[in-house]
Symmetry: C2
Subunit: 214 residues, 2 copies
């Protein structure tokens, strides 16, 4: 219940802490101070302490944090000790890339199926999974207790597909379609709008040039 | 010079405005008030006015904004009237997906080449471009005035590759490697940490469950 107060900004930073702590752990580092973590992560030590205080603090300041303990605690907070059944909607290049690319299984994300509305792709095997027709999506979601759908389809139709997923019990959508979805607020959506990201990069390059930066 | 004051938060919202205005334009809508825009974009009207004031306001409140004018102005601010030469480093699934996936050419992002260190891929054609060995990357960047590199390689080696790109004049990196890069601050970096995004989604799903949300 306490978690309710935690802002999305803090939550958005958790995976990054998790990533850095994983690297420290792999390097065999056992303890780290908030100042050292601050130096490598390029956020202020006070930000780190504030963020961690949302979850009870994780250990004594001054003496530093135990890397492995902190890594495991943040993993637990992120729910990486649980499993999620995941399907991909859209077996185009991006959908195939995500299916193949992810070693997400070890984070508890279990790839259960991939769907497309292009008959030419039906039956094609992608990471040992045959592409299924979209018509089978609803029953598949229900029968296989699918939690997460990854949307890698064009923006046309994305909202309608999201609605069908929601009606059949999906709990989260990882949305790569270039459109914001309209779903009930109990459905979690995480957008990856790739073209927005690339445009922001271009803007920053142009601005830097115009200011005579170099 | 005025642009200097504009925060990254405002900049991050520009592509989203651009996207919505493009849709309105396609629907033939000529004028829109900040309140109407607020309703469809689910941000406050005051936020919209504040954001637009960073760029001179774009028209009269009350009377509404001219959709096409606003769309073009924001496009111009984003630098979409300019072109950028772009290469992809890493011809794995994700690199190939990005090369094929993007109709970014019409936004001024020109796909110039794709590189990999796997000899099995050399010469393979991806969107009419042969995969080149990594050894050719530096000279290619210099000789073809490449502005943007898309990094779709594993985290091991990503920092070293980024350094080589920077040394040869790259201005921006669109980083899909699961690691934060250390580059001089005049080099623009836009990170797409896919696993961070998926973890955040899982966290929000889990939290909602624990709170007995449904």
């Amino acid at each position: 219940m306490e978690n309710k107060e935690i802002s999305q900004a803090v939550i958005a930073r958790l995976p990054r802490y998790f990533r850095y702590l994983g690297e420290l752990k792999d390097e065999g580092i056992e303890r780290i101070s908030s100042q050292e973590l601050s130096d490598i992560m390029k956020v202020t030590a006070s930000q780190i302490r504030q963020d961690f205080n949302n979850f009870g603090g994780f250990g004594q300041q001054g003496y530093g944090y135990k890397v492995e303990y902190l890594y495991e605690e943040i993993g637990r907070i992120l729910g990486l000790d649980m499993t999620h059944n995941l399907i991909i909607i859209g077996a185009g290049n991006l959908g195939q890339a995500l299916a193949n690319y992810m070693n997400f299984e070890r984070r508890g994300f279990l790839f259960r199926g991939i769907f497309d509305n292009n008959p030419a792709l039906y039956g094609k095997r992608i990471r040992e999974m045959e592409v299924r027709p979209m018509e089978e999506m609803e029953s598949f979601v229900r029968e296989n207790h699918i939690d997460i759908a990854v949307l890698t389809i064009p923006k046309t139709g994305a909202r309608a597909v999201a609605e069908r997923l929601v009606d059949n019990g999906i709990r989260g959508i990882w949305n790569f379609a270039h459109i914001d979805l309209n779903v009930p607020k109990e459905i979690q959506v995480e957008n990856v709008h790739l073209s927005d990201s690339l445009m922001k990069l271009a803007y920053n390059i142009n601005r830097f040039e115009q200011e005579g930066g170099i």
